[in-house]
């Protein structure tokens, strides 16, 4: 059976991981390549690198990082952050990234999804959607949840699927950082409306949250950052518990 996927997310700034990480066995806590290798060895199914640097050098630094990661690990990884053109994507894929994730650039220029799917195939196009509830409606937000758009989460999800996205990474800004669990109701609704895989993001605090998002939220994959970085949850333990709950995982 196809397994559910566990995806640690690494925030990258100028080629270094930014969120504090609590790995005593790391020689260099800021080295994303070393961290990626550890997650890969522990059984992560994929990795996401989210670049949040804003310097002019960012593109070259990111491409160097992608090459190093691709030469070191043997599991798939996605790169996101500031990607806004076919050329941006081409250079990342050429250097060994498996997928790219686009967020605000897709909202500003939805045709980018079609262009990327046509040129590189849907399988490498992840559309990241950040949303939070306003008066009971799920509204797509930009800039880390600060700027609301006119878009409704579910309409936008259907649109990105039609335009050729291969996967949706949905972050609930209401849940992100709370450690109270994923937005399972919205996730389950997304899964019933679109026929591409959905990655759940935002709210992971304990192992039961992952069980719930796979069962109640019908998520295909779950992404988290701090619970892994601070070793609050070990991937091996997490996967064993998921299996005990009859959730198919790769062990």
């Amino acid at each position: 059976m196809l397994t559910k996927r566990i995806i640690p997310c690494l925030d990258i700034k100028n080629g270094r991981t930014v969120k504090g990480v609590n790995f005593v066995d790391l020689r260099d806590a800021g080295d994303p390549v070393e961290l990626a290798k550890i997650y890969s060895d522990e059984g992560a199914d994929e990795l996401v690198f989210l670049d949040i640097s804003a310097t002019e050098e960012r593109r070259k630094t990111l491409v160097d990082l992608v090459r190093k990661v691709a030469s070191t690990i043997n599991i798939p990884f996605t790169v996101g952050g500031g990607i806004s053109s076919v050329e941006d994507v081409e250079i990342l894929l050429q250097n060994g990234a498996d997928k790219v994730s686009i967020n605000s650039s897709a909202v500003k220029n939805p045709q980018l999804i079609n262009d990327l799917a046509q040129k590189f195939g849907s399988q490498c196009v992840v559309v990241a959607i950040d949303a939070k509830q306003i008066d009971g409606r799920w509204i797509v937000h930009l800039v880390g949840g600060k700027v609301p758009t006119e878009l409704n989460l579910f309409d936008w999800a259907k649109e990105v699927e039609q335009r050729g996205a291969g996967e949706i990474l949905f972050t609930s800004m209401d849940n992100d950082g709370t450690k109270n669990g994923f937005a399972n109701e919205a996730l389950a609704k997304l899964s019933s409306l679109v026929n591409i895989p959905i990655i759940a993001s935002g709210g992971a605090g304990n192992i039961q949250h992952f069980v719930d998002t796979f069962i109640d939220g019908k998520a295909d994959a779950a992404l988290a950052a701090s619970v892994f970085h601070f070793k609050e949850i070990e991937i091996k333990t997490l996967k064993k518990e998921l299996k005990n709950n009859n959730i198919e995982v790769r062990i």
């Binding site: 196809l2 397994t3 043997n74 291969g166 026929n195 295909d220």
Partner: protein
């Protein structure tokens, strides 16, 4: 050993290059027929859409070369699909090496299949030392149905051929270069053929 990765403009070639380096070998990228013919091992990658990839093969003349190769050839993902008779994706003819037509998953399941799934009924030297039901990384919307040339089976909506072999031609729907240490071992087995 000379390993050539066929370069026709499609595919995540860099990941395959790196995986081969991790196994202690070097590969070269080439679309030169003489260089491809002279290689000990040929890898035929492919990611993207079938009919446009086939057009690139036709434009380069590699479509007539590949079926005549006599050394071990490994098609990966779309590479494997293009080695079949034809594909429903863009209704294109393939290279006709494997006698099977590639078709699409229905909307009863999420499409693409994306992630890790098991391979079983393993039947080839490609899988020497590989246990049944190991997990491989797959990303695809189209598949080769089970057939005489199937050397591995995977279940997603239906049981289908996740690897094929005919004589010196091998194909894997999964990405051995992205399937952890087990995938790397399968790639290593191919290089030992």
């Amino acid at each position: 050993m000379k390993i050539v990765i066929i370069n026709y403009g499609a595919g995540n070639i860099q990941s395959i290059m790196f995986a081969i380096e991790r196994l202690g070998f070097k590969a070269v990228l080439s679309n030169n027929p003489d260089e491809i013919k002279a290689a000990d091992k040929v890898i035929f990658p492919g990611v993207g859409e079938a009919s446009s990839a086939m057009k690139m093969l036709l434009a380069s003349g590699l479509d007539s070369l590949i079926p005549t190769l006599t050394q071990p050839v490994l098609g990966i993902c779309l590479g494997m699909q293009l080695m079949c008779n034809k594909s429903e994706e863009g209704n294109t003819n393939g290279l006709g090496i494997f006698n099977i037509d590639v078709i699409k998953f229905t909307s009863k399941v999420k499409v693409p299949q994306m992630g890790w799934n098991q391979i079983y009924n393993l039947k080839s030297a490609l899988f020497d030392g590989i246990a049944e039901n190991e997990y491989m990384y797959l990303v695809h919307s189209f598949y080769a149905p089970l057939c005489d040339e199937a050397i591995a089976t995977t279940n997603y909506e239906v049981e289908y051929a996740s690897a094929l072999q005919k004589d010196n031609f091998y194909g894997t729907q999964f990405h051995p270069e992205k399937s952890g240490d087990v995938g790397e071992k399968i790639l290593g087995n191919f290089l030992k053929l």
